[in-house]
Amino acid sequence: MLQAFSLYWRLIGVQLRSQLQYRLAFFLDVLGTSLATILTFATLAFVFQRFGNIAGWSLVEVAFLYGMVEAAFGVMDLVFSGFDPQNFGKQVRLGRLDQLLLRPVDITVQIFGSEFIVRRLGRIIQGLLILAVAIGMVDIRWTMGKLLFMPVIFLSLVCFFGGLFMVGATITFWTYDSIEAVNIFTYGGSEMMSYPMNIYQGWLRRFFTYVIPAIFLLYYPALFILDKPDPLQMPGFAPFLSPVVGFGVLLIAFVFWNFGLGHYQSTGT
């Protein structure tokens, strides 16, 4: 275990050094990725001047959701980039996974250490910044419970997205190419969660409640933190399902990943 960790850090260290080689290019890259977060939010802020609110949520309340999703997705993208289905599918296609499998080190550790995209820091920092401003501006009645619950919400989100990445990566053992449906859940899911999810109607909301229970990861916890009433009349414990969903998805993903590894057949390239 200890050895796995030290190996992981060394793999990450290599990535860090290589990515910091071209300083200007790296700087522009970080700036570029953080700009995406800020400008998307600026669009929302401008539009709110015209519209006032969305389904009763003010701009700063939406900022709470947006900052949380962006920062959590950014952290996940940093830690789990080795499993990014698009990237991982390519490794499978090119037979690079075979190389890794031949090494006498745990494959999962190697995949975790295979990719560490430092420019994601831009997204994380901007997300946290927006979250901090939102928390400063919304009038939250803080209690001990809420304070302790905040990092739980955050970690659950990271686990949830990470789990989706792992599932997406595992699917490529059979398909050899990332399937678009996974993008819909990861990128589409993060987009959906940055708005109050009661705005989605019919099958769309039911799907993200009962099949992919994304609604419990941020919308319900946010209702609890911000003391907002629940228009959907879910049971009172709904906000506290977030760790169950987050860690549950990651756990299932790990099981599925190990199952996939057992059934992996090389493309022969």
Partner: protein
């Protein structure tokens, strides 16, 4: 013209090979379209019209802008940059036409392929599932089509220009991504520019971005009408010319620095 046609055709045929990829892209674009509709409907609430755009127009806007992702290659286009780095640009430069002409003919085929495979099916899906508004008369349709072609040309010239950064920066991917993100924000892709504060609309008008998407959307929705349509088209032509000239100028300076290693 003959060469333009041949290069376009090759590039168009190449698009047709990746039909599954196009279908997957279409599904994703459509899904994001559904989310964007939900957001706009919730923002409108009980209001029927905001900033001159009725709710049907707002829904149509999400369809149009999602349909344009493929046509304008709105999320990424690094082909020219990559060719500079791999040295493949030496072959591009040997073509019996200028680098800009070669790449724009290539991109025309790509854009047309995306229009057929993703743009039109998207609008049809929107028309079936959500109901969209359409231009009211022949002149509005004509204005829309001309504006769409000009928007593509402006977008291409912009992508060509920023890709030229590869001559100066050892890894220009970040710079190009930066340029793309800026274009989402200021082109009216994320939201119609009319919803924005006046000072910001004026600021955007000083950049080439609104002429890539916002102009097309406003002409399609009939938000601009009469002589204003002609004015909008002229503005697109003005920016197209400006970007082409800047691109040629940058290319001339950049090409002197170009060193291609053999092997």
């Amino acid at each position: 013209m003959r060469l333009f046609y041949e290069f376009s055709l090759r590039s168009f045929q190449r698009q047709l090979i990746y039909r599954t990829a196009a279908l997957a892209g279409l599904v994703t674009n459509f899904f994001f379209g559904i989310i964007r509709i939900a957001v706009l409907v919730a923002l409108y609430g009980a209001r029927h019209e905001v900033a001159g755009i009725p709710i049907e127009g707002a829904i149509t806007f999400t369809g149009l802008s999602q349909a344009m992702i493929g046509i304008l290659s709105l999320f990424s286009w690094y082909e020219l940059m990559n060719n500079v780095y791999t040295g493949a640009i030496s072959a591009d430069l040997l073509k019996p036409m200028s680098l800009y002409q070669y790449w724009i003919s290539h991109d025309f085929g790509r854009a047309f392929g995306q229009l057929i495979l993703r743009g039109l099916p998207m609008m049809i899906a929107y028309a079936v599932f959500f109901g969209i508004s359409t231009p009211q008369n022949f002149w509005q349709w004509t204005g829309f089509v001309i504006s769409l072609i000009l928007a593509w040309a402006v977008s291409f010239s912009w992508r060509f220009l920023v890709n030229l950064a590869a001559f100066w920066i050892p890894n220009a991917a970040g710079f190009v991504r930066f340029a793309f993100i800026l274009s989402w924000f200021m082109s009216g892709f994320l939201m119609p520019l009319r919803y924005f504060p006046d000072w910001f609309i004026k600021l955007c008008a000083l950049t080439p971005f609104p002429y890539m998407i916002n102009t097309v959307v406003e002409i399609y929705l009939g938000v601009v009408q009469g002589t204003a349509v002609i004015q909008a088209l002229l503005a697109q032509i003005f920016w197209l010319a400006g970007l082409i000239l800047t691109g040629e100028f940058a290319l001339r300076i950049g090409i002197r620095k170009l060193v291609i290693l053999g092997g």
